[in-house]
């Protein structure tokens, strides 16, 4: 027994998993506050599912410990851990009906009268009239709800969700996201959600940990991760980022002065990871929707104090709510810019010369030693990771 702050739901200390010479999870430390909705986000094969399975007890960690609510459970088999899992593709028992699937956990713990609880749970997931159906007679969304109900009825300390929405179509997935979030708020149990869908992670979780190659790249609230990624992987994997290589001219003040292909740019020093030294390179990141486009002939109307870069539109695609442009610029090829369709300027068409400008405070600085395209070419397959 190790005493920890009671507010910690799950604490992983130095946990790792090796299969022979392959390291699926490098030693990592993680604490998930009790009652929070936590997401492990990463591409397939990044070690997120292995981490989840070590919490459930379905994998033995090679090193490190798992603590639940301050109790070390590393040595406990899965059936003795107060944790329940919603499996990828649900793993509902095919020979039992919905009612018996949901009652399974209660019965194994020796409860005799399960009727009331099962009926309440069927109510919570809105499946009351399907209690006597077999799983294979249900739609994907209904099966998903049975899987959630089967786990939640046990009031686990932690609910683990392994890509629970991966098998659903987009519309149903959005709907189930809201539903899961509602259920989590209602029952107040700690949820740890594994997903490769960055939108899903950001929409549902209080805290997101981005995993890559068996390591946690960055951890934080979705908005913080999005506004200030600390690695190129996070910048590219979580939404889209424009990354511009620039040389540091002056690092003395609060504002860094930089130069990219003869264009002067600035960046607040506090929005830069690591220390910037004069003469060295760094990457300036800027999200596509933070950039404003102005036709070159109106360049004079661009307010002072904004970073400005020239370029030519190569592609534009209209998506209804916004128009997405690709722009070749001397500072970087293929810059992405999203403009909301409030007042559409007909001059912003492919071939047009434009000025791209943004508030320097919206940029972020990254170490230039990283692979600039990390996180853009990842496999989002839904296989076990």
């Amino acid at each position: 027994m190790t005493a920890t702050a009671p507010s910690t739901g799950v604490r992983l200390s130095g946990i790792s998993k090796r299969y022979g010479t392959f390291t699926a999870v490098h030693p990592l430390d993680l604490s998930v506050p009790a009652g929070s909705f936590f997401a492990l986000l990463g591409a397939s094969g990044c070690g997120k599912t292995t981490t989840l399975r070590m919490i459930a007890g379905l994998e033995n960690p090679s090193t490190g410990t798992v603590e639940l609510d301050g109790t070390d459970v590393t040595a406990l088999p899965p059936h003795k851990r107060p944790v329940n899992t919603v499996f990828q593709s649900y793993a509902l028992f095919p020979h039992l009906d919905v009612y018996e699937n949901i009652a399974f956990g209660l019965r194994r713990r020796g409860l005799k009268s399960v009727r009331k609880q099962v009926e309440d749970m069927l109510e919570l997931v809105q499946l009351g009239d399907l209690a006597r159906r077999k799983p294979q007679q249900l739609s994907g969304g209904q099966q998903q709800r049975v899987a959630v109900a089967r786990a939640l009825i046990n009031h686990p300390q932690v609910l683990l969700l392994d890509e629970p929405l991966g098998a659903l179509d987009l519309k149903l997935r959005r709907q189930m996201q809201l539903e899961l979030k509602r259920i989590q708020t209602e029952v107040g149990i700690t949820f740890i959600h594994v997903t490769h869908d960055q939108e899903e992670a950001m929409a549902m979780a209080d805290t997101v940990a981005v995993m890559n190659d068996g390591r946690i790249e960055q951890l934080g609230a979705p908005a913080d991760l999005y506004e200030q990624p600390r690695t190129t992987f996070v910048a590219n994997f979580l939404g889209t980022s424009n990354l511009i290589t620039a040389e540091v001219l002056d690092a003395s003040g609060d504002e860094l002065a930089l130069r990219a292909a003869d264009t002067k740019l600035t960046l607040p020093a506090k929005r830069c990871t690591g220390t910037a030294r004069v003469g060295e390179k760094l990457l300036i990141g800027i999200r596509p929707e933070k950039i404003t486009l102005t036709p070159a002939e109106d360049a004079g109307t661009v307010p002072e104090g904004r970073n400005r870069v020239t370029g030519r539109i190569t592609e534009s695609s209209f998506t209804g709510v916004s128009t997405q442009y690709l722009i070749d610029s001397p500072v970087a090829p293929g810059l992405a810019v999203y403009q909301q369709n409030i007042e559409r300027d007909s001059r912003l068409a492919p071939g047009a010369e434009v000025v791209l400008h943004w508030n320097p405070g919206h940029g972020f600085g990254l170490d230039a030693a990283q692979r600039i395209e990390a996180g853009t070419d990842v496999d989002l397959g839904e296989g076990p990771s």
Binding site: A56, G57, L58, P77, P78, H79, K80, V83, N84, T85, F87, Q88, S89, A91, L92, F93, P94, H95, D97, F104, G105, R108, R109, R132, R133, K134, Q137, R150, A151, N154
Partner: protein, 267 residues
């Protein structure tokens, strides 16, 4: 013209009926002749209707004794082969051990090997070991050849089972024993049942292997074979018809139960 299209539309039905007729004609003959009262010892020509054989099935010497022996052997062989075969199937499907793939291949040999070869080699083995032929040698031989069928049927079922089902059970507080009884076994059950049914049928009507390893013991197939040389009592037809009826009834009952379950689920 209209007749021609009608025939063409229902060609599949005709083909099906013809096949069924071809398959069932021998059974019909057996059934019809079980009500015959032959002149002499051979029941090959229809004489006149009689229920004598049905009312006195055990009147022929040794017939009922051999039948009950065959049934006993079939039950025990089924039990032995099913238990052993299920265990072997789980071991082969679930665990990685040295000799696993060769064990898997060897298990199939009795199925592929000509029966007479296996019969002769088993007989040689028993002779060399000084085991006296009888009930036990027959039982051992039957378990041996039934085993492969059980292993094949169960292994297919276990291999196709999602390993996450067992993990889910453990995740829901089931101990390893509970996981086996509540999840693994019920899901593997259709495979086990198929293996057991096959074993029973194979053991009950086996002649070649039994004949080599029976000594002076006579099972039902051996009795029929022996009787055919001296004359065929009508009682053989009675037993045959009864077995066929029991099998058909079992299938019908199974379908009825299945349909009722489906209806209950739907309502």
């Amino acid at each position: 013209m209209r007749l021609f299209t009608w025939v063409r539309r229902h060609l599949v039905v005709f083909a099906g009926l013809l096949t069924l007729g071809y398959l069932l004609l021998p059974n019909v003959i057996v059934t019809v002749f079980s009500f015959n009262k032959p002149n002499g010892r051979f029941n090959y020509q229809w004489q006149r209707f009689s229920t004598d054989a049905w009312t006195h099935p055990c009147d022929v010497a040794d017939l009922c004794g051999s039948l009950s022996l065959s049934l006993r052997i079939a039950v025990w062989a089924t039990l032995g082969a099913t238990v052993l075969g299920t265990l072997i199937a789980f071991a082969l499907a679930r665990y990685r051990f040295s000799g696993r793939s060769s064990a898997g291949t060897l298990i199939f040999l009795p199925m592929a090997m000509p029966e007479v070869v296996m019969a002769a080699s088993l007989a040689t083995l028993f002779l060399n070991m000084g085991v006296s032929f009888g009930f036990w040698t027959i039982l051992i031989a039957h378990i041996t050849f039934c085993l492969s069928f059980v292993v094949t049927a169960v292994k297919a079922r276990v291999m196709s089972m999602d390993p996450r089902l067992e993990q889910a059970a453990q995740d829901l507080y089931a101990t390893p024993a509970q996981t086996f009884w509540r999840i693994t076994l019920p899901i593997a059950a259709p495979g086990i049942a198929a293996g057991a049914l096959l074993s029973f049928a194979l053991s009950f009507d086996d002649f070649v292997i039994t004949n080599f390893n029976a000594g002076s013991t006579v099972t039902f197939p051996m009795f029929v074979w022996g009787a055919a040389q001296r004359g065929t009592p009508v009682q053989i037809n009675v037993i045959g018809t009864a077995m066929f009826a029991v099998a058909v009834l079992c299938v019908l009952a199974g379908q009825l139960v299945g349909r009722r379950q489906k209806n209950r689920r739907r309502s």
